[in-house]
């Protein structure tokens, strides 16, 4: 039984990476994407109802080659990413401690839970008018709304994670001589990490949904605005490009979270 030594680059197992990139899954993915594009083109040409109304890929690709040279298009990416990540990161900085404290402290949980449960069902978009009023700049109000999108998801996932920590682990740790601080840092926190990353993945998805809608309502920049603006201007191929760009941006963001989660919870073997 000879095992080839894995070669590492910046902590990444290169053989595994190569296998992932050139694996069967990748080929199937490429085939599926190309197949969908061909199907879409044929439907457009044959004027199939509904699907036929979407501009055909040939037109979309034409516009795309123009857009790729347009700095405004890339500016939209940057602006949307900034909003998503600022809102998302602030949601982590505030949401993670609140969720953890709610989980371990009954008094704090009983005080804050009703407030959170009343505010949580309000869709982030319903906050847009208020946000525009009480934040000095439109930029801040959009970031605030994206923050809300991730915040409640984080708090509830972490709270659930802390509550579900198996009592056996806590008892075993007590039995082995842990202090309360040890229990928190060495048992509760690592045991909650999987739920924390679930919260992050879901939260990241919500943040993109929210930022796009908020840009359509209250902004003059970003991928959401670009998509809406193209609709207003009747530039249909760019609508499709905007949509696909948002999809790709969301995919990149969740991949990043998955990568981070995999690195920080190696015992779960996510990757």
């Amino acid at each position: 039984m000879t095992k080839q030594k894995p070669s590492y680059f910046m902590g990444i197992n290169l053989r595994k990476l190569r296998k992932t990139i050139f694996g069967k899954a990748t080929y199937r993915g490429i085939v599926a994407i190309i197949g969908t594009i061909i199907f879409w083109e044929i439907c457009s040409r044959l004027n199939v109802p509904v699907i036929g109304m979407i501009p055909p890929p040939s037109l979309v690709f034409n516009s795309l080659s123009e857009l790729l040279r347009d700095p405004d298009y890339w500016e939209s990416w940057v602006v949307s990413f900034q909003r998503v990540f600022t809102g998302f990161i602030v949601a982590q900085i505030i949401g993670i401690p609140i969720g953890l404290i709610m989980g371990i402290n009954r008094h704090f949980r009983e005080l804050s839970f009703p407030i959170i449960e009343i505010l949580r069902p309000i869709p982030p978009l319903a906050w847009v008018p208020t946000a525009v009023i009480f934040w000095p700049t439109p930029e801040m109000s959009i970031t605030f709304v994206t923050f809300l999108g991730a915040f409640f998801t984080m708090v509830l996932n972490i709270l659930g994670g802390v509550k579900n920590v198996d009592i056996r682990y806590v008892r075993a740790a007590i039995s082995l001589g842990s202090s309360k601080t040890d229990i928190f840092w060495r048992i509760i926190l690592p045991a909650t990490l999987p739920s924390l990353f679930t919260g992050m993945t879901v939260g990241m998805g919500i943040t993109w949904e929210v930022v796009v809608a908020a840009e359509m309502i209250a902004s003059r920049s970003g991928l959401g605005f670009m998509t809406w603006q193209s609709y207003v201007a009747g530039n249909y191929p760019v609508i499709v490009i905007g949509m696909i760009s948002i999809g790709i941006a969301g995919y990149i963001s969740s991949s990043f979270i998955r990568l981070l989660g995999g690195r920080l919870t190696p015992w779960l073997k996510i990757i």
Binding site: R168, L176, D182, P266, W267
Partner: protein, 296 residues
């Protein structure tokens, strides 16, 4: 000190199945008239009814009884996870808990749990080092060295850096025992550790546990509902009744140590097993009938 050794010799003469290893002077448990009431939603449940158990230092004591008879309640009281309603428990003649005082959990009474409680987020080595680490009794490198030695002795050298999810359940249980033993506890509290294991694995695990016991002579408080396991492992087997849990019978297992699979086919082992089966069968039947009544 001399008196302790004297007592130990006395115990040796009495049961004839005392640990062949070093003489143990610490880890004597005395459970005196312990009663435990639970009061969930106003319905008073008597879990333990006037239980008295004496365990000498270095003795392997097994508690056997039907499910829900309060075995784990007793273990949790010794561990300090909850209190008792009346009676006292002493460890080496010091009061551990009474109706007024819940035992403080400590690394001198380590629990090995039913379904295993290795921390999934730590590797095998990190799990074993955990106790010395949080107690800050040894330096990190000392603890690491001690853990590596211990795991090597237990034949677990190859899995130091594996996560618990990557090794077999039998291995996990061994690591858990190592995690307890590294703290040099006075008492090892084992709560049905080999439940839900197949018979073959169980045999291997028993041999492994007996090897550790014979070499260390720690006091072991072992809970099970498997009679064969009870008699094969224990020096003393207490049979408990169905709820409310009382001590029904004490069986002194005077089969000499070290024991191995040949023990299982000896005449004396079978006699003791029969004695235990009779005691337990009555209780199991009662539990079954009580269950039926509740349903009817």
């Amino acid at each position: 000190m001399t008196q302790n050794i004297h007592e130990q010799n006395h115990a040796k003469n009495k049961t004839g199945s005392v640990c062949p290893g070093p003489t143990t002077v610490r880890g004597k448990i005395s459970i005196r008239n312990v009663t435990k009431n639970y009061d969930p939603d106003g319905a008073n449940v008597l879990a333990l009814d006037n239980c008295s158990i004496e365990i000498e230092a270095g003795e392997f004591c097994v508690i056997v009884g039907p499910s829900g008879c309060g075995k784990t309640t007793l273990l949790n009281a010794i561990a300090g996870f909850h209190g008792i309603s009346s009676g006292e428990i002493y460890l080496d003649d010091e009061l551990l808990c009474s109706s007024k005082k819940t035992a403080v959990p400590s690394a001198d009474r380590i629990v090995v749990f039913q379904n295993g409680s290795l921390f999934p987020w730590y590797t095998v080595l990190e799990n074993v080092v955990y106790g010395p680490d949080v107690q800050a009794k040894m330096s990190k490198s000392q603890a690491r060295k001690a853990a590596e030695e211990l795991l090597e002795q237990m034949g677990l050298r190859g899995i130091l850096h594996s996560y618990p999810s990557e090794i077999s359940s039998g291995m996990r249980r061994r690591v858990e025992i190592a995690r307890a033993m590294i703290n040099n506890p006075r008492v090892l509290l084992m709560d049905e550790p080999y439940r839900a294991m197949d018979a073959l694995t169980k045999t291997v695990m028993h041999k492994h546990l007996l090897d550790i016991y014979d070499a260390s002579c720690k006091t072991v408080f072992f809970i099970t509902h498997d009679l064969e396991e009870a008699i094969f492992l224990g020096s003393k087997v207490y049979v408990m009744t169905t709820r409310p849990g009382k001590i029904k019978k004490l069986i002194n297992v005077d089969i000499p140590r070290p024991r191995d699979f040949r023990t299982l086919s000896s005449e004396h082992y079978r006699e003791l097993k029969l004695e235990a089966i009779e005691a337990v069968h009555e209780e199991a039947k009662k539990a079954f009938e009580a269950g039926e009544r509740e349903l009817a």
